[in-house]
Amino acid sequence: MVNGYKPTTLQEAVEIKSRVSVTPYAGGTDLMVRNIPDAVYLFLNDIDELRQITQDDAYIRIGAAVTFTQALDSDLVPPLMKEAISRIAAPAIRNAGTFGGNLGNASDKADSVLAGFALDGRVRLVSAKGERVIPFDDFCVRRGVTNIADDELIAEILLPKEKCALPYYYKKIGGRSALAISRVAFAGAYEVHNGVIQAISATVIGEGKFTRYREVEATLIGKSVDEVSANADAYAERFIEKMTFTRGRVSAEYRKTVVTNLFKDYFASMK
């Protein structure tokens, strides 16, 4: 094959990655738009072990080359993730776009990555020398930059089952209903017992990077839902003051206002 490699196993793929300069290709929906001149692709789309959705005791495991359509048809994929990916682009893109691509291309608008952040997602990276599993927080540095090594490939996305079972909140704001890139999106999962918050995550698209403000989240644990809802502005402000919003198709001020409103809506939705 000219300008391409098409391995049939992950082992074969990481061996090629360790010795040749190649661009990993899973669904192609982002890569082909960028249309890198003289690209040499490592085609991962027909590697069976990257196309499986499985579970073990701790995790729902989504292979890097699983498409969004495949995940929407799966009983294992949690509702928060399904809601996020159901709003990605349109059917023809969801039929090809993958979890590995959405994470690996380091877009700051990746809807599946936002859901993964809210669920304490991890990524399994494999190289010819071995493998490691790291949290999304450590993998995603900022727009365009990840912590993947040159010889590594994304093998799986791992979603902790105890997080997948929690009540959740998700909202996406785009310029239109289909084929919309998130201008702002918000994802969170929480646990409430007897009206008291036991666990909470809250993460947004709009900052030019993905992040969790875990130290702020921690200040809500042990508070009653009623108190947080009654003082939603003040609690939202704890997060907002840490955040820096980017200007793009919409202004930073717009993003800040929308995120503030979504925090209030999130708190009000908790039961």
Binding site: M1, V2, G4, G28, V33, A39, A92
Partner: protein, 157 residues
């Protein structure tokens, strides 16, 4: 491995060019499949949609290496089927075709929907066509044509 081997409209085909070439360009320029339209090259318009193993995909966002060992159907192949005849009649009956540029993508998006869901609701049709842009904005007629094809072509899907 030499060449990229795939089936195109039922015919075994071998492409000797670069694995990084766009499927859209290769279909139009090498294999003369002019039903596959180039609208945006960004996966935004759906005019270049084809079926790969029966699944709707935008051919502008596919590199040739990815189709090795797969089966591609364009309208040039699909038009030989009874399903196409039912869709074609429904589109004609309702004057759903204006300039026609988006129609090959619309037809294949309709086939992709009906092959999974033979009796879709209007909402399901609109979702299935949501990645196919018609700049004549004739959406209602197109949606109604797909619904009519499903009704009058009952049993074909």
């Amino acid at each position: 491995m030499n060449g990229i081997h795939f089936r195109l409209n039922g015919k075994d085909t071998c492409y000797d060019g670069s694995a990084a070439d766009r499927l859209l360009d290769v279909l139009r320029d090498t294999y003369d499949m002019k039903s596959v339209k180039c609208g945006c090259k960004e996966g935004e318009c759906g005019a270049c949609a084809v079926l790969i193993d029966g699944v709707l995909v935008n051919s502008c966002c596919v590199a040739m290496g990815a189709v090795d060992a797969h089966e591609i159907v364009t309208v040039e192949g699909y038009r030989e089927t009874a399903r196409f005849a039912a869709l074609s009649k429904a589109f004609a009956d309702l004057s759903a075709v204006q300039c026609g540029f988006c129609i090959p993508g619309m037809i294949l998006a309709a086939e992709a929907l009906l092959s999974k869901n033979a009796h879709p609701t209007e909402e399901e049709v609109r979702t299935a066509l949501s990645g196919n842009i018609c700049r004549c904005t004739g959406y209602n007629a197109i949606v109604n044509a797909v619904l009519n094809a499903a009704k009058e072509g009952d049993g074909l899907w």
